[in-house]
């Protein structure tokens, strides 16, 4: 809408807000609500996991041993690092340090790409070994519910992977805007929101890693 008003600073806020701070606050509430619904979006998979694990613990034990926990642990470290650089990026944006913002956001993208590459090798290995969702499962196993674990594994990590991909797109977008020197103490809403989203994506992985890889 063309009806924008000017504040003393650079940023134009939408016409129905009192001031830039009012707009920032509203956007932040919106983002937290979005993340709340994300929790419920993942919830059924966690319920399915709990259900099948509690009824068939032996199958889940067997299946978990078929995953490579070292790769999982490596990826956990990668994602935690990316969360750290993201936080540094948000901080730099708030202080109007454009080049630092770009640098930290680029690092965050780098980490998330490393994460996806590792995930790619994990997936191809599983596919070659026939460790696939139940309908296509062809690996010799002892328990007949073990394939269900892999259905849940692929759904959970796949859904998480899609979130990582979307995150990379979003971070790239704010990186370009940071390059244009659009952010500063007056206005850094998009960086803040993408940051929240990214921490959420990391947090999901922090739950997935022990639940899937570390059943002993």
């Amino acid at each position: 809408m063309s009806h924008t008003q000017t504040t003393p600073g650079k940023h134009h806020f939408a016409h129905h807000f009192k001031d830039a701070h009012h707009e920032f606050d509203s956007c932040k509430v919106g983002m937290w609500l979005f993340l709340l619904q994300e929790v419920l979006f993942f919830a059924p998979l966690f319920v399915a996991y709990s259900l099948f694990r509690s009824t068939h613990p032996e199958a889940f034990l067997e299946a978990s041993h078929l995953l490579n926990w070292k790769l999982g642990a490596f990826n956990t470290a990668v994602l935690i690092s990316s969360s750290f650089t993201m936080a540094l990026g948000v901080n730099a944006a708030q202080r109007g340090l454009h080049r630092k913002t770009v640098k930290y956001l680029a690092l965050t993208i780098l980490f998330s790409i490393i994460f996806l590459i590792v995930k790619y090798f994990e997936y191809t290995h599983k596919i070659h070994a026939g460790l696939l969702p139940a309908g296509m499962f062809s690996h010799p196993v002892q328990h007949d519910k073990t394939p269900i674990f892999f259905s849940i594994y692929f759904m959970m990590t796949g859904l998480h992977g899609i979130h990582v991909l979307i995150g990379i797109g979003l971070i790239f977008w704010i990186m370009m805007r940071a390059k244009n020197e659009e952010f500063g103490p007056e206005y850094f809403t998009p960086v803040e929101l993408v940051g929240l989203y990214w921490h959420f994506v990391d947090l999901v992985w922090i739950y997935l890693f022990p639940l899937l890889y570390l059943i002993r």
Binding site: M1, H3, A14, H15, H16, H22, D25, S26, C27, V29, G30, L33, F34, L36, Q37, E38, L40, F41, F42, A43, P44, L45, V47, A48, L51, F52, P133, A134, G135, M136, D144, K145, P147, I148, S151, I152, F154, M155, L159
Partner: protein
């Protein structure tokens, strides 16, 4: 009070003629225009869903084949159910009327995120079209519930409908998020939480349910899609999964979804009854709390849809018990409305007639809901026409009657003209009579054991079925009549004043139709929404 010049200005600068051309509508970020676009789109889908209802009812005129074969019949009731729930009743009041009224009742210029609002509309439309297009590329016959394992195996373009429902769910989530932030952040000065109109309270509770329940169905439908694409087996017993888990997920959403349909309806009734009784609403606080009571309980009763699915006796008992608790806050609302009318000076304009129809049909729907919550009765009545009649009394009787009440109530605001009173009242009576003629016989058929969804039935049910079919055509006639005269009123109706009903909420303080940015100056609230005597 209006000089010629203000009238001129209102004429020039309202939201309808602020800018011209189809493109200015399709790209508008104005919440009122987006609401109008929702309204028209949803009403078109309502027509389509209604045609399928008439196809079903016509086929049921006699036992065995009347004019279509059994497969086509299965598809017809699937499309009727899917279109009416996902495309019509769920978004009808929140996305269409709510979009227009909510920011105005708050004294805001727009919703918090206007661009997101427009995006939600297009996400909704693409979902709806994806589902409707299956009519031409391989029809769906799962029923609107998509129960596994049938929905995994049956042919047709089920995946497209699933994707469509997923998108419409996403649109609902975004709209809900938008409204919640709007209520929190954009209230006019002086509009404290305890002065919020009850319509806003009801929408707010609805939005919370939309935000927390819809993601669950979205993921469930996604899993079902993967179930069909690559056999993930989570819902498929032949692969080691659990089909009943699908039912749990489905009803975890779909029971609260019933309240996504009915709470906004209650919100409209909350506005209409005090205005047309000229009395403050009885027990404002209790009425607001009751809404949240209903919303809260709605999350923990889903198992009452599964008494015969093989879930444990203990679960059955607990779900039955909690379900009965829903009657408590619902009862509070019913008594609150009746107490509001008591000794009021009641005007029987069309919105009030619809509100009274709502009270009647919703009472029947609510009480039969308690019957169904009772375990032993439920086992007898499960999957019979009794259930069909019950949920039509709540969802169609409740939501559609309230929608029509709201549509007539706010019509002067939306259009700037008064609707024609006498034809509107006739339309209301036709619809109300048609509705009861259609669904009362279904209670009887259900108690006598006639199962729902069947193509054929024993000949002794012929008469009752025919009464029901006649009723359904009467509803269709009543609705067509009503909408025909609403269209005529837009041209022939007398010019509407700002506040034709003498209501207190903020949307009536601006011109009819409202300005592009709703108000000339930021309104300031000093008295309660139903405070008629101070």
């Amino acid at each position: 009070m209006y000089s010629d010049t203000t009238a001129d200005q209102e004429e020039k600068n309202n939201y309808l003629n602020h800018s011209k051309g189809i493109k200015s509508w399709l790209t508008s970020l104005d919440h009122k225009r987006i609401g109008v676009m929702y309204l028209f789109s949803i009403l078109i889908f309502f027509l389509v869903g209604g045609i399928f209802a008439l196809i079903v009812r016509t086929e049921l005129w006699g036992p065995t084949k009347t004019f279509i074969d059994a497969n086509t019949y299965n598809q017809a009731f699937t499309y009727h159910g899917t279109i009416m729930t996902f495309m019509v009743i769920l978004p009808l009041i929140p996305s269409a009327i709510g979009n227009i009224i909510l920011p105005m009742q708050l004294g805001a210029k727009d919703v918090a995120f206007p661009r997101l609002n427009l995006i939600s509309y297009y996400v909704y439309m693409s979902g709806a079209l994806l589902a409707v297009v299956t009519l031409f590329v391989g029809r769906v016959d799962t029923g609107w519930t998509f129960y596994t394992p049938y929905s995994i195996r049956t042919g047709g373009a089920t995946i497209l409908v699933l994707a469509g429902a997923f998108l419409m769910g996403f649109a609902a989530i975004l709209t809900a998020l938008n409204f919640i932030v709007t209520v929190h952040k954009l209230r006019a000065p002086g509009l404290t939480w305890s002065k919020l109109p009850l319509f806003i309270w009801c929408l707010y509770a609805t939005n919370i349910i939309q935000m927390l329940a819809t993601p669950v169905i979205a993921l469930t439908l996604m899993l079902l899609t993967f179930e069909r694409l690559m056999g993930i087996g989570i819902f498929d017993a032949t692969l080691g999964g659990d089909p009943v888990l699908f039912q749990h997920f489905f009803w975890f959403y779909s029971h609260p979804a019933v309240y996504i349909m009915i709470l906004p309806a209650m919100g409209i009734i909350n506005e209409v009854i005090p205005v047309f009784s000229r009395k403050t609403i009885f027990g404002y606080g209790g009425m607001a709390v009751a809404v949240f009571g209903i919303a809260l309980v709605s999350f923990v009763v889903w198992g009452h849809h599964m008494f015969t699915s093989g879930q444990s006796e203990t679960a059955n008992f607990i779900f039955s018990l909690i379900t009965m608790f829903v009657a408590v806050p619902t009862g509070i609302k019913m008594f609150g409305w009746i107490a509001t009318m008591y000794q009021g000076s009641i005007r029987l304009d069309t919105p009030m007639l619809y509100a009274l129809s709502f009270l009647f049909v919703f009472l029947v729907g609510g009480l039969t809901g308690v019957f169904l919550a009772t375990l032993p009765l439920n086992v007898h009545l499960t999957d019979t026409y009794f259930v069909v009649a019950h949920f039509h009394y709540t969802m169609v009787g409740g939501a559609i009657m309230a929608f029509l009440a709201g549509l007539h109530y706010w019509y002067p605001k939306f259009v700037g003209k008064m609707y024609l009173e006498i034809p509107a009242r006739i339309g209301c009576v036709l619809t109300f009579v048609g509705f009861n003629v259609t669904f009362l016989p279904q209670f009887v058929m259900g108690i006598r054991g006639l199962p729902r969804r069947y193509y054929d039935y024993p000949p002794e049910f012929t008469q009752l079925n025919q009464v029901s079919t006649v009723g359904s055509f009467l509803i269709a006639f009543g609705l067509l009549w009503t909408f025909l005269f609403l269209i005529i009123s837009a041209y022939k109706g007398p010019k509407a004043p700002r506040n034709p009903w003498g209501a207190n909420t903020l949307e009536w303080q601006t011109s009819s139709p409202p300005y592009h940015e709703n108000f000339e100056t930021q309104p300031i609230v000093t008295k309660g929404p139903y405070d008629y005597h101070s």
